[in-house]
Amino acid sequence: MDSTTLIAVASIVTAGFTTGIGCMMPALGEGKAVSSALSSIAQQPDAAPTITRTLFVGLAMIESTAIYCFVVSMILIFANPFWNHIIAK
């Protein structure tokens, strides 16, 4: 295997793993956050606006980790610096 193939294989496999794991873990975290927010809204419907707003901010924070993983895998597939370096040579 020459280095071009090696870079392509490593990039594609890593991109898949990055998105896979990076979707799994934040999904678990978001599920926990939403479930506890729902149960606290059920207990205290008066506090629903505050809880919803905090939930949204928290979800955005959790989701940004997933988005980072997505962006990294997009860079690996479509704008890979190592691949571009090899191709340009």
């Binding site: 606006p49 901010v57 940004s64 988005i67 980072y68 997505f70 997009m74």
Partner: protein
């Protein structure tokens, strides 16, 4: 595959490049400004008001209430900045219902510019509220050991703001493009509807996070003043 609207270039001359991002951004700004001018040209205080004024009042009151709920006492000072952020991102993301439109927020340059606006606005409002030294003291908040972490968080949250908005909007467009090649009949429509929801939520989150950061800067510097006042009162009473 085009990753961002930056790559669609209309006109280029040396350093200056006019691409799709710039064109859509200016078009949205123009639409927002013209609409706001047209609506506010003849405002009424009667019992019957025009429909557009009603829409505008609902938006302004809603944003004001949200800002007040987060903890800024006087939302009128901040709605100019936060409201424009929210309305611009919201409009940019909602316009994906028009065919052939690429949202400018799907380009990292737009979102980085918006995040830099927040990055500059936070110290601006903090200094406006409590002076330069009062704001700088808020970096030493719990103890002086936290200074590097406060500085790092200032930079990293700006990065997070930019990448979050970019990633969410870009992923929506990307998923639609991929689905068009796999199942082009009905699924892209569903994903586009989801993209509308995500776009609105992201605009809301961007506004809320900007408000939260500004609130933290304003309140932190306020708290440094409060204990002194309290101790002064106490000493006065004792004396």
């Amino acid at each position: 595959m085009k990753l961002s609207p930056d790559q669609t270039i209309f006109w280029q001359h040396g350093f200056i490049t006019i691409n799709l991002t710039l064109v859509t951004t200016w078009a949205i700004m123009l639409v927002l400004i013209v609409a706001a001018r047209l609506v506010t040209r003849k405002l009424q205080t009667d019992i019957t008001i025009s429909r557009w004024q009603c829409v505008l009042e609902i938006m302004v009151t809603g944003i004001n209430n949200q800002i007040k709920d987060i903890g800024l006492k006087n939302p009128k000072e901040y709605i100019g900045f936060i409201g424009s952020l929210f309305l611009f991102i919201g409009t940019a993301n909602l316009c994906i219902i028009f065919p052939g439109y690429t949202p400018p927020t799907a380009s990292l340059s737009t979102t980085a510019a918006l995040a830099l606006c927040v990055f500059i606005a936070v110290p601006f409002f903090g200094i406006q509220k409590s002076g330069l030294s009062g704001y700088l003291k808020s970096y030493l908040k719990p103890t002086f050991i936290m200074l590097p972490f406060n500085l790092i968080s200032e930079v990293s949250r700006t990065l997070a703001l930019a990448v979050r908005l970019f990633g969410n909007v870009m992923s929506g467009g990307m998923i639609v493009a991929i689905l068009l090649s796999i199942a082009p009949f009905i699924f892209p429509v569903i994903m586009n509807a989801l993209g509308l929801l995500t776009g609105m939520v992201q605009a809301y989150i961007f506004g809320i996070l900007a408000t939260v950061y500004i609130t933290a800067a304003v309140h932190d510097s306020k708290k440094t003043d409060k204990p002194e006042l309290v101790t002064n009162n106490k000493t006065n009473k004792n004396g």
